[in-house]
Symmetry: C2
Subunit: 705 residues, 2 copies
């Protein structure tokens, strides 16, 4: 009879078994507390016992949550989310969370109450990271999508920045890399510590190789120890833990070689000496235990004398029966005497009727057959009892020993979690080192000033994808004489790639990763904004222009002087005049003369905007070089100062065999357009109203002269 009862309730966020969760991702329960203007969020990953605290508001909420792999939501009032498990708001927050501010404490209380309801045991997080308090480079979800950081446009993992960088060897490192990519730093010192660590590792080929080989043999310690603590583990988890700790010990040996990096040093410092735990596991656990402890054979022999004895009794049962049979044969002289077993009598002695006269007196008759009699003896009953008792005791006793070992392991919970986090960090840093060597990325210098000086900048993804050598470009942005780059040139020449690679370089640098450039000075960015043209979608029928404008408004409202802004076309989804007006006005607003003055890359088809260079200090024109060769166009992918040559489009039209008369007429019209471009004083007539009654006003002066 099996003891039955609810031992836990499995919900999407409380699956913590191997096959239920993606090892490379967190699996969050999100508890939300607050009102529209201030929503406190606790993201709780039961499988790693880690919690992240966020802060959001109604407007940002969907965007903020989309960045995390949340599989369940808890809300304490309706309206906050369309989907979500509605729970009773706690009367007050649990004492454990008192150190957090009210909203977060309430969210944590909600989450822990819910999780305890599913696990039927106390659940406490081992680490709580308050992201709302940290200084991070902020990116909205849109920007993550546009730059294809973690997911490509199609939603897949291919051809993303993650796809280039993710050479992590451990599951913990994989998760940490994603965290770092979603939340690059905004603190010079912390970034430089990471960069120094990467530099040290990138410079020591053998050391790093050895570290990474060792990392490759460490299992998901974080989730292993959590499964053990939540009693959802199997004997093999302990074996995996033993192996992982063995290699963790090996990893610790490398600490002296990393002494020059304070960050690495502190990570190694966080790894305790697991010798005694390893010794316990070595002595206690078999090499290859079965899937479940219910079958025994989990504990190594020699660990526990009583267990060994029980196993001995069971294992030697047959020998002892044979021994006894031989002895009785000899004692009685009945060669056909046999000891047998059945379910009714247990062990018994069978003697053919022909030998009845020789049966000793101590034999107790139990059953009479046609040709034989069956007996038991005291000795045989004793033997039987000891065999059966051993079998009955063996499994529960082995289970109890196993449980005891788990308890001993759990005393190491915090050291193991700490080691896991250090391993993750060392994994990501050494991954950065490996990638830097593999793709020739260089260490950026970090500056608190809003500058961006990069030489030989490349796009990490396209560089990896392309067969031909990637054409590198330089980039200079500051908030003074080169604050807003207007980039003109035809479609597909490389404007988007150029701008994206600038944003990616900043993100990589602030993650602590080397950058795909020959030299880089990265001024810290507080936020990165991107506005990238979407293509029309007839079936969905969405107004892409409305989306475009909302994205632009978001930038204008939230960008600061320390932000980086990438605008790839604005104002295309409407009439040209409207589009130019909006684009121009937006550019002015972003310029150093306007209220924002952030470093800005601004690609546009509106050639009018190249006039901004004359009008506003800090605005500079750039274009992408193109060469015509025997009737075909070659995109040189090289960025050069100045506006794109205006007649490029008509040139292409000519190459495409548009009739000559049409081409000539187009040139004529172009000249007319250009003639109107500047006022008689040579100033861009877009910016300045023409002097109202120019017919008279403008005429008098020359007459006077």
């Amino acid at each position: 009879i099996v003891k039955r009862g609810v031992t836990r309730i499995v919900t999407p966020s409380t699956i913590i078994h191997h096959d239920g969760v993606d090892p490379s991702q967190h699996n969050f329960l999100a508890a939300l507390h607050g009102d529209d203007d201030d929503i406190c969020i606790a993201l709780w990953d039961l499988s790693t016992a880690s919690v992240k605290l966020l802060r959001s508001n109604r407007e940002q909420l969907a965007d903020d949550l989309r960045r995390y792999p949340v599989s369940e939501y808890l809300v304490c009032r309706d309206g906050l989310l369309e989907q979500g498990q509605l729970v009773q708001a706690p009367q007050q927050s649990a004492a454990d969370f008192a150190r957090f501010e009210h909203g977060h404490a309430m969210a944590l209380t909600m989450a822990s109450a819910y999780l305890e309801g599913t696990q039927l045991r106390t659940v406490r997080p081992r680490s709580i990271e308050d992201l709302s308090a940290r200084e991070l480079l902020l990116m909205d979800e849109n920007t993550c999508v546009n730059l294809e950081l973690l997911r490509n446009m199609g939603g897949g993992r291919e051809h993303t920045l993650l796809w280039v960088l993710d050479r992590t060897r451990t599951a913990m490192g994989g998760r940490l890399l994603r965290d770092w990519m979603r939340h690059p730093l905004y603190q010079q010192h912390a970034i430089e510590q990471r960069l120094d660590a990467v530099e040290l590792l990138a410079g020591q080929y053998t050391l790093t190789g050895s570290i990474r080989d060792t990392l490759g043999r460490i299992h998901d310690l974080e989730r292993l120890i959590n499964r053990i603590s939540l009693d959802q583990h199997k004997p093999r988890d302990l074996v995996a833990l033993r192996q992982s700790l063995r290699f963790t010990q090996e990893l610790r040996l490398q600490a002296p070689h990393c002494a020059d990096s304070p960050l690495l040093q502190s990570q190694f410092g966080n790894m305790e000496d697991f010798t005694s735990l390893l010794d316990l596991l070595d002595r206690a656990m078999c090499d290859e235990p079965p899937v479940t402890v219910k079958n025994g054979q989990v504990i190594r022999s020699g660990y526990d004398a009583h267990l060994d004895q029980l196993r001995d009794v069971r294992g030697n049962a047959r020998d002892r029966i044979l021994h006894m049979e031989a002895r009785e044969k000899q004692a009685t002289g009945i060669s056909s005497l046999k000891i047998r077993y059945n379910r009714v009598f247990g062990y018994y002695i069978e003697v053919p009727k022909t030998h009845q006269n020789r049966v000793p007196a101590e034999y107790i008759r139990k059953q009479t057959l046609v040709n034989a009699e069956r007996y038991v003896t005291e000795a045989i009953k004793e033997l039987e009892t000891s065999i059966l008792e051993a079998e009955e005791q063996l499994i529960p006793y082995e289970e109890s020993i196993y449980a005891d070992i788990c308890q001993q392991v759990l005393q190491w919970f915090d050291p193991i979690i700490n080691a896991a986090r250090s391993i993750a960090c060392i994994d990501v840093l050494s991954t950065f080192a490996e990638v830097a060597v593999a793709y020739d990325y260089r260490k950026p210098r970090i500056s608190p000033d809003p500058v961006l000086h990069v030489q030989g900048l490349r796009h990490p993804v396209i560089e990896k994808l392309s067969v031909e050598p990637f054409v590198a470009n330089d980039l200079v942005l500051n908030t003074d004489d080169q604050q807003l780059m207007i980039i003109t040139g035809p479609n597909m020449a490389g404007k988007s790639t150029y701008m994206r690679q600038a944003a990616l370089a900043v993100i990589m640098a602030q993650m602590g990763c080397f950058v795909p450039a020959t030299e880089a000075l990265i001024g810290l960015c507080d936020r990165i904004f991107t506005r990238v043209g979407a293509s029309d979608n007839l079936v969905e029928g969405k107004s892409t222009f409305m989306v475009e404008m909302s994205e632009t408004a978001n930038i204008l409202h939230h960008a600061t002087r320390n932000s980086l802004i990438v605008i790839d076309e604005v104002g295309r989804g409407t009439s040209t005049f409207d589009g130019i007006s909006i684009a121009w006005s937006v550019a002015e607003h972003l310029s150093s003369q306007g209220p924002i003055g952030a470093r800005t890359l601004f690609a546009t088809h509106f050639h009018e905007l190249t006039d901004l260079e004359r009008e506003l200090h800090g605005v500079v024109n750039f274009h992408i070089l193109i060469r015509e060769n025997h009737g075909t166009l070659h995109f040189l992918r090289k960025v050069a100062p100045g506006a794109a040559p205006k007649s490029y489009g008509i040139e292409v039209a000519r190459l495409a065999q548009i009739p000559l008369s049409v081409i000539e007429r187009a040139h004529e019209i172009l000249q007319n357009l250009e003639a109107r471009e500047y006022s008689p004083e040579g100033r861009s007539s877009v910016v300045h109203s023409q002097d109202p009654p120019f017919l008279f006003g403008a005429v008098e002066d020359p007459l006077v002269e």
Copy 2:
């Protein structure tokens, strides 16, 4: 022992079995003959014995061939195609094809030689359609794709015009519908004949319903009879043929009800009376024959006396043995006598040894067993021989009868092929009638003049997809006062839908189908051109602007006054000035003052182009109505005369919460742009050069006055 030998060679274009080919499509072998400037093409569908002749040149070749499901190419010299089976050019064309011009005759000869080489028998097409000589509405492949006629943008069948119209009940009808869609007519009389037929059918609900029920029970006659003629058939094909002919007979009964339509009448006229063939098949073929004739049971009993006799011999063998056994028992008086069979002796009589004395003299002893003797008799050997002979003869004899029936069926080849084609035609026409009733399509009037007057026009696909009622629009185009419509308005307002539905209405009308409109006067179009904006594709890195220009050049070179042109944005992939110049110049070229003067729908974001209305007779502005309501925009999908209001884009920007200062500045810039739009004389300054030194030239006059 099975007779072995190559009976045919299977290649991609010579698969004609059910499961090998898509019943809804032809499966063509394309033979190409000629030089770069003039390539003659024979498209040969072995499975339907039909051939289409095309003409192309090197430039058009890929485009022309892409429209047909070609699975193999034959080329007679290298360089014409990258892939293709290289064959020896024939010395001269076969006499059978002498009536065709040289190139086509050669292509036909090549194809027939190749096919005969695979089929190892004479192969002749039953119908040869010279598409190069027919008057058809031409559309390049691009236009088929842009309008989503047969395939959607993703390559699937969903949400295409075919998806709306294809309610055909027969495989032949399905193929013909695709043919008609690829090749709408350009002959008023032929179109009107189709429309009249559709009108007749659409008006007679019961008649059409009954016709279509009957059609639904007719198999793919065309491919059935071809499989029989190529000896690649199974008995069930004859049964399917029989059923199909039975329902063809039933269909013919409807002829009198269709007397008012000459087209239907001629289709019915092409269907011969199959009574005698049906009688043959009824008498000869079983109801449910096995898969192959090798198992017999294919020919109905009663059809052939000798076959019946053979079957009788085999089928009654057991009875005759039992009968003989009883007779011998009685004759000999041995009740335990048995007649048995084994492989060594065949049939024999077994008599137990105890009865040996009663065995008659004529019994010939064959074998002695422990308890019995085995004998044969003359009678039993005769019986055996007749049984075995019958079995031996039965299958080959049945096969020969079956082959004979096939030969008789093949004498009906032409009538069956003709009937199949008529059935296909009746199927498509009645499909059009059914669709017209289902979706309230109306009969268009056809005119030889280049006009297009449509009231209440809808988009057939989007109408079917959308939940809300589709907003219908009127359309007037001619080559006089409303020749070129400039359509402005924001993205997604419905410009593309409006223009596409115009092109679809023309195609449907010229196919002979009713159109989704309340009233339509369709002036015949010789060609339809579309140029529709493609979205950028960063990974492919193609210059979409180059593609855009090539497509435009194609229109400018090939459009005539009788064409219909749909341009959905041109000049967007380059700088604004270039784009405007090209768009303007293209519009002038297409206008009635230019060399083309075709009916043109021209959507653009270049608001400048609305000035064309002032400059060129026949150019008219239209826009799509939009209403703002409580801060959100409603696309009314209604097309109205006049240019779109210019400030729409800035309005959207305001709704999207772009900061007010930016909005105000955009308005200012817009005014500056508008101020430059016209010369002091109020003429569009794009078209006309400004009077060179206007500073003085323009001033003197008022002073003089």
